[in-house]
Symmetry: C2
Subunit: 412 residues, 2 copies
Amino acid sequence: MLTELGKRAKSAQRKLMTASSGEKDKALLAIADALEAKTAYIIAANEIDIAAAKEKGMSPSMIDRLSLSETRILAIADSVRQITKLSDPCGRILSGEKRPNGLVIEKVSVPLGVIAVIFEARPNVTVDAAALCLKAGNCVILRGGKEAIHSNQKLAEIMREAVSRSGLPGDCIQLVEDTSRASAEALMKMNGYVDVLIPRGGAGLIRSCVENASVPVIETGTGNCHIYVDKDADLTMAADIIFNAKTSRPSVCNACESLVIHRSIAKEVLPLIKARLDEKSVVIHGDEETAAILPGVLPATEEDYGKEYLDYEISVKIVGDIDEAIEHIMKYTSGHSECIVTENYSAQRQFTDEVDAAAVYVNASTRFTDGGEFGFGAEIGISTQKLHARGPLGLPELTTVKYVIHGDGQIR
Amino acid sequence: MLTELGKRAKSAQRKLMTASSGEKDKALLAIADALEAKTAYIIAANEIDIAAAKEKGMSPSMIDRLSLSETRILAIADSVRQITKLSDPCGRILSGEKRPNGLVIEKVSVPLGVIAVIFEARPNVTVDAAALCLKAGNCVILRGGKEAIHSNQKLAEIMREAVSRSGLPGDCIQLVEDTSRASAEALMKMNGYVDVLIPRGGAGLIRSCVENASVPVIETGTGNCHIYVDKDADLTMAADIIFNAKTSRPSVCNACESLVIHRSIAKEVLPLIKARLDEKSVVIHGDEETAAILPGVLPATEEDYGKEYLDYEISVKIVGDIDEAIEHIMKYTSGHSECIVTENYSAQRQFTDEVDAAAVYVNASTRFTDGGEFGFGAEIGISTQKLHARGPLGLPELTTVKYVIHGDGQIR
C-alpha cells in the first residue's frame, strides 16, 4: 500500500521536476483558492477530530493546535499565496566553469525529489509542508498524527484536486491515511521512493526517525538553548533578552531553556533576571551558588541542564570564566541556538568561534532562529543536524544539485 | 572502547575547529614529511598484510590495491602536500544580511565535526581521508578493512605523531583497530560522537551503512552509468566515448555499464561500437533487436540492466525515441553519471532536464565524474544521494554552516 503510494509519488515527480515556476505557482494559487472555497467542508471534518480529542481528554493547548477556524483557514490559504511570491529555488546555476579540456561544468539547483514529512497533531503543517515542497518541485508524502486524520484527509483531497485542475499531477501530494506506528516505520525505510524524511514534532518522534530510518533524515527542532551572561554584559539588556527568550513563547524550540552566568556579575544580575521572570511565574532551577543569591530556587540536577522544558521553567549555572561557560554549553547543547550577552569584543569573538550550533547570537534573543526572521520567507523546520542544512530550512534547503556537463567528444 | 575513541575525537574537535589554516597546513606537511621519512617502516608492516592476503588466496588485483611500494608512499605524501595548496573551506562567509531590525546575520562555513570513514582494503584511503578531513577542520575516525590492518596501524601512528608534533591534537585522527563487523556496526550508531559517516567501498558495504546507520550517512559510489546514443548522434564520437567510458578503467564507479541506442541508427552504430569494444574483448549483453544486428551477443536480462559490472561487460537496450530512453535510464539509474550523445539541441536539453543524476553529460565520457576532473583538487568520494552533496565530494562538502548573528539587544 505504501509502496503503491511511493510509486505514484515517484511517477508524479518526473513531471513536477521539470514544471516551470509559472506552473507551480498556478497550482499553489489553485490550492489557496480551493481552501478558501471549502472552508465549511474543512471545518466540519475538523470538528470530528476535535470531538474525538475532547473525548480522549486531550489538553486544551493541544486541542487549540488541532483546531481550524475560518480565520485560521484563511490565514493558511494566505500563507500559500505568499509562497508564490518567493523566487523559485530550482534551476539556479550555482557555479560553473569551462575546464581546460573544453568541458563546461555547471552546478544547477534541482528538486530533492520525494520528501516524506511525519508530523503530529497540527493540520496547518499539512498545507504548509505540501506547499513548500511543491514550490521547490518536490512531491510530498504526508504522514500526520491520528488526532488530525479527518482534517488532513479533507485538506489533502482539496489540495490534490486543485493541483490536478491546474495541470500538474495530483499525486504530487500524497497522504498516508494509515496513522499507525507501522505506517510511520514503513515510511522511514522507503529507500528508492523517499529521498528525504523530515520529522516535525516532539523529541520522541524525531529520535524514532533518527534511530529507525534508513532513508536520509533531516533532524529538526530540539532546542536546549542557552544564554550566557558575560562579566562585561549590559545587565539590563541581559535581563530583557532572557525575559523575551524564555517567556515570549515557551513551547517553541528557539525558546531559552538554560542560563549561564559569570560569577563576577551573578549577584548583581540574578535578582534583575528573577524579577523579570517572576512576572510570568517562571520556575528557576539553580546550582548551589544560584541558590545562595536567590533563596528558594529549586536545585538544578544534571537532568535539568540537559532538559528542553518547553514551559515556564529555566535552569541556571554559575561559571568562573567564558571558557567554563563554553564548556558547559558544549556539554548540554542540542546544537540549536546559543547566545552570549556581552560588550566585550574578544568574548563575543571567542563565543561565536567556539560554540558549535546552528545559530550563535551576540546580544539578541534566541527567538530569532526562524525562517521568517532570517528573511527566508518560509520555513519547513529548523535543522539541528550538520548534514545538508543547519538552522531554518527555507526553499533552497529543499533542493539538491545536479552537475550538467557539455562537451564535444571529450574522453579521459 | 569505541565510545572512548569517540570522546577523544570530540574533545580534539573542539581544538581543531578553531585552528587556523596555517596550523592545519603545518600539520599536513608534518604528515607528508613523516610518511616519507618512515617509508621502510610502513612497507615492513604492509608486507605482513600482503603475506596474509596471499596466504588467503586474495586475487592479484586486490593484492595490488593493498600494496604500498616506496613510489606509492611518496605519491601519497605528495598528495597530502597538494592538499595544503587548496584553499581552506572553513570560515567563508557564504552570505549575509543586515535585517530591518538591525540584526546582522552571517552564514559561515564551519567544519562538519567528527567524520567516520569505513573503507576496505586500500591503505591509501587511510591517509587520503585523514588529510582531507583535517584540512576541512574535521576529526576523523577511520575503520579500514582487516586485510590492511598492519599498514593502517603504522600509517595512523605516523600521522597522529606528526599532527601532535605540529601542535594540534593527535586525537584528530583515530583508527579503529578492531576490524570486526561489530566495530563497523557500532560506529554506525555512534550518535552524539559521529556527525557524518562516509562509507568508501563496494555496494555491500554501502548498503549495510545505509540500512544500519543511525548517524547521518553520505552514500557514495554505486554507478550504473548509461550512455544514450541519440538518432542525431555523431556516431564515431559515440563509439569513441563508449570505448573510453567502458574500457579506460572498468573497475571504477564512473565507468559506463549500459548503452541505450536509438532504433533509427542502431544498425549503423552498433557494429562501430562492437568493433571498438572488441579491442578489449568486452562482453555484450543485448536485447533481441541488438542480437539481430550483432549476432552472437548474450541476451540481456532484467538483472543485466540493473547491474554495475565493474568489468569488461556491458548491456545494450534499443529504444524508439528519447522519451523511452529517459524512461529506461530513470528505471535503472543509480543516480551517478548519465550521458547523451547527440548533435540535436532539443534532445540534449530534454535529457539534461529530465535525467535525475549527480552528473548528466552531453557528448563526453562519464569517466569525468571525479573531483580532480571537476577542478576540486581533491575528493573523498562521489555522492549518489541527494542530501547534503551530490557528485564528487570536495573540501567544501566536508563543511557545514553556522549562522552568526550580531545584535544590540534585539528581542522578538
